[in-house]
């Protein structure tokens, strides 16, 4: 299925999903290729193994293929797909013993001192890995994927208040784990910039 280039991404996604609902495998292929990079980048923040990433993406698109007929335009297609990926990833991460969040107990109970760690990425990764998976996913959906509060509520199938609470706790925990975040704002730019 080839769509005119003038279509907006939203219109394009809707047209592709309608074609998928009618059994068009080429449309599924097109939608898969347009979402693969975004989903793979997002998921690679939680698991380093491409096998896991591929499994989550392919499971997501199996659901898209099977449930395209059920889509009622209550949300954007992108929010719907990312919501499926979110639930699939959540199940996968909980199932795996070796993913980052499951191994939190392996970390010593101490905060990270950014003045000791040479790389900003290291201490940031360490702090993020210490968050419960729902809080981490919420933070990443907002800061990495750039989703609005309402979109995250739809993606995670939670009330807006729950999303705000998860984000609040994530921010508070990062303050504990990363003392510079909780202290003067002036400490951080030198480390990150």
């Amino acid at each position: 299925m080839i769509l005119p280039a003038k279509n907006s991404p939203k219109e394009r996604d809707s047209a592709l999903l309608a074609a998928i609902a009618a059994g068009d495998r080429r449309a599924l292929e097109e939608l898969y290729l347009s979402y693969h990079r975004r989903l793979a980048r997002f998921l690679s923040r939680f698991t380093p193994r491409y096998e896991n990433i591929e499994e989550i993406i392919n499971d997501t698109f199996m659901v898209v293929w099977q449930n395209a007929k059920e889509f009622r335009n209550a949300s954007q297609v992108s929010t719907w797909i990312i919501g499926i990926a979110y639930r699939t990833a959540l199940k996968s991460f909980r199932r795996q013993k070796n993913h980052a969040v499951a191994s939190l107990e392996d970390y010593p109970e101490q905060t990270v001192d950014p003045t000791v760690d040479a790389e900003v990425n290291d201490w940031l990764k360490h702090g993020l890995n210490r968050l419960p998976i729902e809080q981490r996913l919420t933070l990443e959906l907002a800061y990495h994927m750039g989703h609005s509060l309402e979109e995250i509520a739809t993606i995670t199938d939670c009330p807006v208040g729950t999303v705000k609470a998860r984000m609040f706790h994530a921010r508070e925990k990062l303050r504990q784990y990363l003392p510079t975040l909780g202290g003067g704002a002036s400490d951080l730019p030198a480390r990150i910039g």
Binding site: L28, M62, E140, E151, R171, P189, I192
Partner: protein
């Protein structure tokens, strides 16, 4: 409600909106609310600065790009298997699964099916007998797929290889992709220059992301594989 209570409630509500102020998805009304509050609230102003830097730091972390083609082929294979399974378990068209059928009808259908099966078996035997060149019922990555023009090497890469890594590796070995990946993830590679195929192969095999690399031309070194 006292003025300090209202201020406290406003502080908590605005504080909760800060992440979406940072990622610029907040509505105009809420944006103005945050602007007004942050002007007079030092903790929220500090928090806003911290959240902005956190957001920047998260987005400045290196990201890998993966090649989706092989993954897509595996998705197609799963869909094929699912559809084949659904087709084999579906009842014949126009006949409900649990409808009563007279035994005579079943017997007639069985006899007809057996007759067709016997005829097909006989035809198959005849074709096999007539065939002068027996075809193997399996294929390998090196000898059963028609060779694309210019192909000198077939290779399989790790599914985790990035586009940048693959391109760098191919440039180094002076190769280019002419076909693939197949369902098994096999790429056909052609030579870009006068570098001997054996040298290109050796360069490929140095990389841990190359799972298999084999020359397809009849050269002495083509017997080695990774």
């Amino acid at each position: 409600m006292t003025s300090s209570h209202r201020t406290e409630i406003e502080h908590h509500e605005v504080s909760a909106l800060i992440p979406w102020y940072v990622n610029e998805t907040i509505g105009e009304r809420d944006r103005q609310r945050v602007d007004a509050h942050v002007d007079s609230c030092v903790p929220c102003r500090d928090d806003l600065a911290v959240q902005r830097r956190l957001c920047e730091a998260i987005n400045s972390q290196p990201a890998l790009d993966y090649m989706p083609v092989a993954s897509l082929k595996r998705l197609h294979a799963r869909l094929d298997a699912m559809q084949a399974g659904a087709a084999s378990s579906a009842p014949p068209a126009g006949q409900p699964m649990n409808s009563p059928t007279p035994w005579r009808g079943w017997m007639a259908a069985s006899i007809a099916a057996m007759a067709v099966a016997v005829a097909l078996l006989a035809a198959d035997r005849w074709v096999q007998f007539e065939s002068r060149s027996a075809q193997a019922n399996f294929h390998t990555v090196t000898n059963s797929i028609p060779r694309p023009p210019g192909e000198v090497i077939r290779a399989v890469f790790s599914p985790a290889i990035t586009l940048v890594e693959l391109q760098t590796m191919l440039d180094e070995a002076q190769l280019r992709i002419v076909s693939g990946p197949t369902e098994a993830g096999v790429y056909s590679l052609a030579s870009n220059a006068t570098l001997p195929v054996s040298a290109s192969l050796a360069l490929l095999r140095r990389h841990s992301t190359v799972r298999f690399a084999e020359g397809t031309l009849p050269e002495p070194e083509s017997g080695n594989s990774r």
